[in-house]
């Protein structure tokens, strides 16, 4: 699989994330390096909470248990426990099993809806984060991909330079905020250097955690 980097939009303190910023960013991408619109993309993220009859013993169960589904892997479902740095790639039929077992309930579900652009050997996605029920924009992410390389280490210099070029283009627009990258710590999850959908799942989970954190800070 080709290497992807995911960055999330951090608004400057005092400003909000709204659809106008999203359209500005999309415009930026469209005029960047001869980009061609390539299609839509979707992923979902679900927070799970243990279904306990007795609510007073929550401490044994993980508090940040997430489930992620990705468009490019329709038959797989990814479970992540961020606290213990565990990721599990399961078949999508696990959802039926979970329904039957009823041991975990879905607390919050979010959708990632993206538009993909292709520019030569690079691909970019502009992704908006919206709740499952509702249209309010919770966050903006971009995903950068370099198609010829599958090794994370090898792709680093190229991706960094691409990001520099991208940031230069963005700075001309003087939008209230900037894109930050969360350090994904793949090694902690014991993942190899070859990029896979598991790496994607971890990056989205990390980006979302950051978004939530910064939203909480803003009040």
């Amino acid at each position: 699989m080709t290497v992807k980097w995911i960055l999330h939009w951090t608004p400057t303190p005092g400003s909000v994330v709204n659809s106008q910023i999203l359209s500005e960013i999309s415009q930026c991408v469209e005029s960047f390096v001869n980009a061609v619109k390539d299609g839509r993309w979707k992923a979902t993220l679900t927070f799970y909470r243990p279904n306990l009859r007795d609510q007073s013993i929550p401490s044994e169960f993980p508090r940040d248990f997430l489930g992620i589904s990705l468009l490019e892997q329709p038959n797989k479902y990814y479970f992540i426990i961020r606290g213990n740095k565990i990721i599990l790639e399961a078949d999508s039929t696990i959802l039926t099993i979970m329904e039957k077992l009823q041991s975990y309930k879905s607390k919050v579900a979010l959708n990632f809806e993206g538009v993909q652009y292709k520019m030569g050997d690079f691909q970019m996605k502009v992704v908006k984060v919206v709740p499952n029920q509702g249209e309010s924009l919770r966050g903006i992410l971009i995903e950068i991909e370099y198609l010829p390389i599958s090794s994370i280490e090898k792709a680093k210099p190229i991706m960094e330079e691409f990001l520099e070029v991208w940031r230069e283009v963005m700075s001309k627009k003087s939008l209230p905020g900037h894109f930050t990258q969360t350090e994904p710590h793949f090694a902690d999850y014991k993942l190899p250097d070859n990029y896979t959908s598991q790496h994607t799942a971890i990056q989205y989970a990390a980006a979302l955690a950051q978004l939530i954190q910064s939203a909480q800070l803003r009040g």
Binding site: D121, P148, S150, E161, D193
Partner: protein
């Protein structure tokens, strides 16, 4: 004299014929090349007619067999028909053989193809033969004139060196002395010793493998490569995990030990996580490359071969450039073209990490497409046998000093 080979089945000569000097052949050598070509064309026309007769004859034989099988009461009639056709066929085949011999003697099939005019591959039913041969002849007529000039020049320089040694001023070390950038250091090795190291294919490959760590070289027969190309994606993962997996056919598909040297027609070079290169050799088992193409390591499919193109822009550009480099090596580094080519390819190990030597950046926009590309050009004229050997002996890795350029940064550098 040249060896005779059969013509009715595909006339693909497996023995390397000795390069015949143009004036040593039979009676038709007294005529000028255009007449030779015309005569050869006539004979080819004749050959076509004989082949057509053979095909009709084969049909008749089959018909006779069919009749004999379906109605046994006809008695000896089908048998006689069969015998008659058999005699005809043998006569035709004999005619064809003698015609083939004539064509060989007139120089049509003799010379080793230096100018890329390869023996055309023939379809099993022989339909392509006439047309492909005609094309071959026309090309050879043109090439023979250039060949003759080259041989004359070589004879002249040899004689000059023998009788006028004081005039010998190093002009022969560079055939392309007119190009200023080809000023290479004269090697201290005896030229015979140099080229003898590299005449055999296994030696070339082994020496490159030794000199460039982290590189995997595999060899294949031509048809085996087609099978492997479609399964590349599934086998690359296995390769990285377990090399000595017993009983797995895919891993043992090609390696120097298991493919007979004279059948090797495709070389695959893999630099893990960076690129995969496919080189085709012609004729099989020799050290003469005739095509080269770059791909990403994950690409797999029937388009992954020495004349194919990658789906990625960066590798497409490199493949284009590699075609030029290949022609350069074939023309200027004749004895060591494969060796130099392999080393030049290895300089691309730094494709995704070395910034351009002109603008010091890793990515630059291509002028035509505006896409961002890493520096895809590495100067090939710096790769000559003597230079490579001297860099290796001083324990300096060539990859460290080869400059790299973006497509746009390069034109001014000349």
């Amino acid at each position: 004299m040249q060896q005779q080979s059969q013509q009715a089945p595909p006339p693909h000569s497996t023995s390397t014929p000795p390069p015949a000097p143009p004036s040593s052949t039979g009676g038709s050598a007294a005529e000028a090349p255009p007449k030779q070509v015309a005569l050869a064309m006539d004979k080819l026309g004749e050959a076509e007619r004989i082949i057509a007769d053979i095909r009709i004859g084969a049909d008749r034989v089959l018909e006779a067999l069919f009749v004999a099988a379906s109605e046994p009461r006809h008695g000896t009639k089908p048998l006689q028909l069969f015998l008659k056709e058999d005699a005809c066929m043998r006569r035709y085949l004999q005619d064809l053989r003698s015609l083939g011999k004539e064509l060989e003697e007139s120089g049509v099939r003799s010379r080793k193809d230096f100018w890329g005019l390869h023996m055309p591959l023939v379809c099993p039913d022989g339909t392509m033969v006439g047309y492909a041969w005609k094309r071959q002849l026309a090309g050879q007529a043109g090439a023979s004139a250039v060949d003759r000039t080259r041989l004359a020049l070589k004879a002249f320089t040899d004689q000059k060196r023998r009788f006028f040694p004081h005039l010998d001023c190093g002009l022969e070390t560079n055939e392309s002395a007119s190009k200023k950038r080809c000023g290479s250091v004269e090697s201290t090795l005896d030229p015979k010793e140099e080229s003898s190291i590299l005449k055999m294919l296994p030696d070339v490959l082994k020496s490159v493998e030794k000199e460039v760590p982290n590189l995997k070289i595999l060899t294949f027969e031509r048809l085996d490569w087609l099978k492997r190309a479609s399964t590349l994606n599934s086998s690359t993962n296995e390769n990285s995990v377990d090399h000595s997996y017993p009983g797995s056919n895919k891993l043992r598909l090609g390696s120097l030990g298991t493919v007979a040297t004279e059948k090797v027609a495709v070389i695959e070079m893999l630099v893990p996580s960076t690129f995969r290169v496919v080189i085709s050799l012609h004729p099989a088992g020799s050290t003469d490359p005739d095509a080269v193409a770059f791909f990403a390591p994950e690409e797999s499919g029937s388009y992954v071969h020495a004349r194919g193109f990658s789906v990625h822009h960066v590798f497409r550009h490199i493949t284009d450039y590699a075609a030029t480099a290949l022609q350069y090596f074939l023309g200027n580094q004749v004895e060591s073209s494969l060796y130099c080519l392999l080393h030049w390819i290895c300089s691309y190990q730094t494709l995704f990490s070395r910034p351009c030597s002109k603008c010091s950046r890793l990515l630059a926009a291509d002028k035509q497409s505006a896409f961002l590309l890493p520096p895809v050009l590495r100067p090939y004229w710096q790769f000559s046998l003597s230079k490579i050997l001297s860099t290796i002996s001083t324990k300096d890795h060539t990859s460290d000093i080869t400059p790299a350029y973006h497509l746009g940064c390069f034109s001014e550098e000349l």
